[in-house]
């Protein structure tokens, strides 16, 4: 029993990272219909930047994260304005190609600025808590709490604020939103800013829990899209449920079946769910 609980705790931490990646992807996809493949690479940029600020410039961790977040907001808006807006009304394939090109560009920039070495963001969070035989490292605890806080903030923002309502309106019916006076040029900027900021948070989490290195962002974005499909395209609750399901499934699969096939098993579960619910766990039929 302890082992199962421990594996679930292990899975929740990595699942929290998946949720943040998927939230960024799902908001962009839900509003703009863009498969933003560069999201993982931009997340890694946020992690690299935090590492650089902490290790290279001596910034305190929280300040470094704040600077990375603000940078992420600006980069997100720049990506929307410079890369995706020009092809907004073009054929979908154009945005698809832009997304692929952007991924290669950001990966290249990461390599150019930060090198090919793996980096781990240093933290002082080294304590380990033991709750009834289940161990919880302090860093993982903070990752879980931070992910929960961000999910809550995102939910409140989308559900309770005027901008959030405008985002939902554009997602549901763009033309009706225009008629209701929603500025449909501003909304994509906001969506990309939030999405990228969430991605930066995920990058920082990956960088402190595990490591950042070339190629990791691509793997992360694949998991993010898997979560998106599992939870239901464009659904924020779906991203949350899907991310946690994927993270916990991976941990349980590695622990009880085979660590060599944990990714395969997680994707088999995803496909099985889609066979039963093609719209995803929380998607609308």
């Amino acid at each position: 029993m302890i082992e199962i609980l421990q594996q679930i705790v292990n899975g929740v931490a990595i699942g929290g990272v998946y949720v943040l990646i998927a939230l960024g992807l799902t908001t962009v996809f839900g509003i703009l219909g863009i498969a933003h493949f560069a999201h993982g690479s931009v997340s890694m940029f946020g992690g690299y930047l935090t590492f650089f600020l902490v290790s290279g410039m001596g910034f305190p961790l929280l300040l470094a994260i704040l600077v990375a977040l603000l940078t992420g907001l600006v980069i997100g808006m720049a990506i929307e304005f410079l890369a995706y807006r020009p092809v907004r009304n073009a054929n979908h394939i154009n945005a698809f190609i832009v997304a692929l090109g952007l991924t290669m560009m950001v990966e290249g920039l990461n390599l150019e600025f930060f090198g090919h070495e793996q980096v781990v963001i240093p933290t002082d969070l080294g304590r380990v808590f033991n709750i009834g035989g289940v161990t919880l490292p302090e860093l993982r605890l903070y990752v879980i709490l931070a992910a929960a806080l961000l999910i809550l903030a995102m939910t409140i923002f989308v559900e309770k604020t005027k901008t959030g309502q405008a985002i939902r309106a554009v997602a549901e019916n763009r033309d009706a939103a225009i008629l209701m006076g929603v500025n449909v040029n501003t909304i994509p900027l906001v969506v990309f800013a939030i999405s990228t900021a969430l991605g930066v948070c995920a990058g920082v989490m990956v960088g402190s829990l595990f490591a950042i290195a070339p190629g990791i962002g691509e793997g992360l974005v694949v998991k993010g899209f898997a979560v998106l499909i599992l939870g239901g395209l464009g659904s924020i609750p779906g991203a949350v449920v899907g991310g946690l399901v994927l993270g916990i499934t991976e941990a349980l699969a590695a622990g009880f079946i085979s660590s060599a096939y944990k990714d395969v098993i997680a994707f088999v579960v995803m496909i099985t769910v889609l066979l039963v619910r093609p719209q995803g766990l929380m998607g609308k039929a």
């Binding site: 980096v119 070339p214 060599a260």
Partner: protein, 405 residues
């Protein structure tokens, strides 16, 4: 007046000869190739190897180059990134041979890529010197133009099994890159010796090169309550295993086979998390165990590259000096068969860093395989400390290697 003129003429002639000689020497350049993982996950082994070859080449050049007959050759290193990928390595070596005209190729940190090149190198007019790649089959194919400075993994795995059994551990859990042949062969040899002492491997959990979250595997191992853990794999995932084992409260001795430097481990885990970890490997470079050559190598490498050398990097440094001596013994830079034959007859060069165990008086045995002693190193207060030698019967292993097809 005549005496003055004679002296002046003699001096001028001597200066001309010296200057002419220098110009003549500078005109002779010998390109040597390096194929190694300069980027990607295996760069922790490959990049230091490439650096080591460049450093050795610079030292050889500074000392006057390689003397062949009346000529002196300065070494020029052409290095390509094979990313430890078999296809990339094959392409890199083809480029070195076909485009750059290179006849001597060094480096080769990783077994998959090395195996791919080894499969065709016999048909090439080239000599291949393998470094850190530890897969046994590389030197069981009787390839006459291939030699390797690092001993095979199972040579060390057997020694490690004996050491762990002697510590009294009966139930050992293994976590490693078990889909990589040489790590699996290390564990197999380890298990044979552990079984002889009445011990057993209670589980074999795997991770891949890109895995960083080992907590599911470690949680499973924790439930099995082993006496000890054996971690075999690349430095970075192994460092995560050590760190996360502490985070999960696993308080049993941790043994490993990684050959990572202190700096490489400290990028991932704290010194406190590493405290007490054993690394059971060939007696490679550590500052505290090194010979005079090792200490000089460590200093020169650190001064040149601003970073400490990885423990396995001298395998490539030593390749370069072995090649130099073989070329000089063969008296040719063109006849690769003669150089390859000279390598097989070579005594251990004076300049090498690793402590080789000659077989029948030569550095490389009939299979082209060199042997070092095996050692037990332990992480103590931020450093790998050499604790003791492990059983290392190079002659017996060499005879065994010759029996394998």
């Amino acid at each position: 007046m005549n005496t003055m003129l004679t002296k002046w003429t003699a001096g001028a002639a001597a200066a001309l000869v010296l200057t002419g000689g220098a110009v003549f020497a500078a005109d002779k350049t010998l390109d040597i190739g390096v194929s190694d993982a300069l980027t990607g996950g295996a760069a922790v082994y490959g990049l230091p190897q490439a650096n080591a070859v460049k450093m050795a080449a610079a030292e050889i050049n500074a000392a006057g180059g390689i003397a062949v007959g009346g000529d002196t050759y300065m070494l020029n290193v052409i290095a390509y990134d094979d990313k430890a990928n078999p296809t990339e390595a094959s392409n890199a070596v083809r480029k070195l041979i076909d485009r750059d005209g290179v006849k001597f190729i060094l480096g080769f940190c990783c077994s998959g890529a090395t195996g791919a090149v080894a499969s065709f190198i016999e048909n090439e007019d080239a000599v291949m010197l393998v470094g850190n790649a530890a897969e046994r089959s590389i030197t069981t194919r009787e390839i006459p133009n291939l030699v390797r400075t690092r001993p095979p993994a199972d040579y060390t795995g057997a020694a490690a099994g004996t050491f762990v059994a002697d510590k009294g551990h009966k139930r050992v859990a293994v976590l490693g890159a078990l889909d990589v042949g040489f790590y699996a062969s290390y564990v197999d040899a380890f298990e044979v010796e552990l079984n002889k002492a009445g011990g057993e491997i209670i589980s074999r959990e795997a991770f891949s090169l890109k895995d960083r979250d080992m907590s599911p595997q470690l949680t499973k191992i924790r439930e099995q309550q082993p006496d000890a853990i054996l971690v075999v794999g690349y430095v970075e995932p192994a460092a995560f295993v050590y760190r996360q084992a502490v985070e999960l409260g696993i308080d049993v001795p941790r043994y490993g086979f990684t050959s990572g430097s202190e700096e490489q481990f400290l990028r991932v885990a704290s010194s406190e998390q590493m405290e007490g970890v054993w690394d059971l490997r060939p007696t490679e470079l550590t500052l505290l165990s090194a010979s005079d050559n090792g200490i000089a190598y460590h200093k020169n490498y650190s001064d040149t590259y601003g970073i400490a050398p990885s423990p396995s990097s001298p395998y490539a440094y030593d390749q370069t000096y072995a090649l130099k001596d073989a070329i000089e013994a063969a008296g040719t830079v063109d006849d690769t068969q003669a150089v390859a034959a000279a390598l097989r007859e070579l005594a251990v060069p004076d300049e090498v860093v690793m402590q080789y165990l000659p077989v029948d008086g030569t550095m490389f045995d009939v299979n082209g395989q060199a042997y070092t002693s095996n050692g037990a190193f332990q992480w103590q207060s931020g450093n790998w400390v050499f604790v003791q030698d492990l059983p290392s019967d190079a002659a017996a292993y060499s005879a065994f290697l010759s029996t394998i097809d």
